[in-house]
Symmetry: C2
Subunit: 450 residues, 2 copies
């Protein structure tokens, strides 16, 4: 008779809930400790909430435990982005090929569903309002405090997974105190504030439902993702300080004027902009890097290992992919956790780094380039070439969002593509000859030279 295998997961967020299902299918008894109350019962948000965009890697991880249909039922496909110009003109840009889309999900909605699945399908026990206060990493012991009763206790398992987010308590209270643990938290200069664009009174959407809407304005931008109830979750990203900044929007008149001037069509659609403005906090954005990701019987997964800024829509997808990878390694190493953890961090750390590099780079793309005619022309050339030679050119966005190419490989391929396209776009007459045979040959030659 086998001894029962026990696992502890810290954090009942998206990655923790999904990983509980994987572990349960592998025969583990799973206990989850979650710092917050049960979001399915309490009137609280599921943390920082920018709507999420599920894409290929996320779906792959969900399929791995057969729950993709459950999630698809609460996801809205967005086959492209709709760019809104200063005068309200809209331009649709597909994200990939026909049939490809990323999917809008609300963080609260998907988290609640994932918790249901972790409990029902994963047979996990979730303890809420329990905070991690420390750990004995080699022993697999975790020190805990019930935030309601103030009771302090501990638990122990064969393996422990810290899926407790960007400011992971396991990482902060245990790993960061260990010798030779590299760690960094870097805040970007920009913050964000959410706004809700409600449904029309008849429940219909005020803008095209099946798209990610974006108002790129150079140093700042507004985006909107559809919700199931007809509303859009909108997010304004801009610098904390400076001429046009959150600091400068310090009174209602300034906010009104700013929106009227900068996002006129959005302003006209919004029934109660100021109320929405005041009902959401100003939040910050950070990149958190660390290494090692595993110590003793503990491993970091998701944001706890590689928290990123949201500009490539890959935070959740990358965290879900951690589950795919860890599950593959469990199989490969027949549940020898020393080997699994060692390979997991060596294999996956470069992908975490690349995911973060991609996210930061895409911030500039979204903010600065999406409205730039030369950038749009470049994307048209890339798109045309990719259709003609699909084996020679998969656009970076597709590699990241519609494939499971390793993030680190996608990042390197993207740098090569950029170098090639820089040469192509340098031609003075590129706008005239962009769809010519000559340009095609030109790109083919440049690829061969790489």
């Amino acid at each position: 008779m086998n001894k029962e295998k026990n696992a502890i997961i810290v954090g009942a967020g998206l990655v923790g809930s999904l990983w509980a299902i994987y572990l349960s299918k592998a025969g583990y008894k799973v206990t989850i400790y979650e710092r917050r109350p049960d979001i399915r019962k309490a009137e609280i948000s599921a943390g920082k909430s920018i709507n999420l965009a599920l894409s290929y890697r996320g779906w792959t991880a969900l399929k791995g435990v057969g729950i993709e249909d459950e999630i698809k039922s609460i996801a809205i496909p967005m086959p492209g982005r709709i760019m809104h110009s200063e005068i309200g003109e809209q331009t649709f840009q597909p994200y990939g090929k026909a049939g490809e889309a990323i999917y809008s999900v609300s963080r609260g909605g998907i988290n609640a569903k994932m918790m249901d699945l972790a409990e029902n399908l994963g047979k996990a026990t979730i303890h809420y309002n329990v905070q991690c206060t420390g750990a004995d990493l080699n022993a697999g012991t975790i020190y805990l405090e019930n935030l309601l009763t103030k009771e302090k206790f501990q638990d122990q398992a064969d393996v422990v997974f810290a899926c407790d987010g960007a400011f992971s308590a396991v990482r902060y209270t245990a790993m960061q105190k260990m010798d030779r643990f590299d760690y960094s938290q870097d805040y970007i200069d920009d913050g964000y504030r959410e706004l809700l664009l409600p449904a029309n009174e008849d429940g219909s959407y005020r803008m095209e439902k099946n798209a990610l809407h974006i108002w790129p304005r150079g140093r700042f931008m507004l985006i909107a993702l559809p919700n199931e109830d007809g509303s859009f979750t909108c997010t304004l990203f801009m610098p904390f300080k400076g001429e046009k900044s959150f600091e400068s929007l310090n009174n209602d008149a300034a906010v009104e004027d700013f929106f009227k001037e900068t996002f006129p069509d959005f302003y006209d659609l919004s029934p109660d902009l100021l109320h929405s403005w005041h009902s959401h906090p100003l939040s910050s954005l950070a990149i958190v890097r660390c290494y090692p990701w595993t110590m003793g019987k503990f491993a970091l997964m998701g944001d706890a290992a590689h928290a990123t800024v949201p500009f490539y829509g890959q935070g959740m997808n990358g965290g879900f992919e951690d589950c795919t990878i860890m599950a593959q390694l469990m199989e490969k190493h027949a549940e020898d956790w020393t080997k699994i953890f060692e390979e997991y961090q060596i294999l996956r750390k470069p992908d975490g780094d690349a995911l973060q590099d991609l996210s930061v780079q895409n911030y500039f793309v979204m903010r600065d380039f999406v409205a730039d005619p030369m950038f749009l022309l470049q994307k048209k050339i890339e798109g045309r070439f990719s259709e003609l030679y699909p084996n020679k050119w998969l656009p970076l966005y597709s590699q990241v969002s519609f494939s499971d190419t390793r993030y680190s490989d996608a990042w390197k391929a993207g740098l090569k593509q950029d170098a090639i396209m820089k040469k192509v776009m340098d031609r003075a007459d590129i706008a005239q000859v962009w769809d010519s045979k000559e340009i095609e040959e030109n790109i083919l030659n440049l690829i061969d030279q790489e």
Copy 2:
């Protein structure tokens, strides 16, 4: 009647003790909380201890409160380094001009002396065995625990200075939890282990007293600094892992063989190498960066703000210079701490960064280049030119160690000098013409082109 001004300092290390004297002279009642026991009474080390090299900035800060003579009495001048080759040949390289030297001090010795001065001259009250467990940054309140009695208490002051080292408790328990606090701890691949080379039986030195001894060997190196009792504190720096590494020196025979082969003259001088090897731990080295350095009524100083690796001998000197700068700003802003703190961090952060960049770069210089004939020739050319045109060329080492040029300016000047010398050294016949008028003119022209 003026209200009494109160200040709290966390950490009775070198910077904390010195800063207490400065504050006391400015009329503050100073209370210091120190986590460790009183090193003057207990048989403990004063933390990680590589001997320290006091140089210009350190002396300037000591002079600022008139205690340079007290410290000079326990400091040994080192006007240059003595390089030991694989066959035991020694080469002396002066650090600066005639009369210039850096000074060897033992960390324990200088720390004990500084505590005496803080108490007697600075009228500071030092509480030992008291750990900081948190802080209310805006209130100037610090939460404390007596590690012997387990008593928890708090204290409050007009201003609080965290001089509590690379792994500052104030920074960790309070600042790192604040929104938008940037932080990183990066360990280098190399560790260090100390060795004591004792005095001869008659108390005399086994090597030249007045020098920093160095055995550069490419990927690793050994250094030795003189102590007052005739001994040398020696430090082996090398990678943790790899072919020649601490990992590979995993038994007594391997250690003996390694020293016999690699540092033969040192091996012959050492009466009990293995005992010394086993009586010191293997330690790691990290660069810690963060920002902001001030929050509310709290400021970070010294290692707590900008911990560095020891390869430029500037950790203590840079920390002492923080005191010089802070004291100047107190005067400039008439003790308006909001203004002082704001200018302190804006002014000083680039210098902390540069100090760290210089330290890392000098690791490569010490390890790789000090034994390279072309590097030595380059230094000779620079030295010659600097003597001829002292206003046009102050060697980087002198800018850092024998001047109070801002670290950030020294770093930039060093990059320019490197670019110039790279061009000069590119001449095939440089070894023949190095001291010619032509090379002189060549350098003058290159300086003008910058």
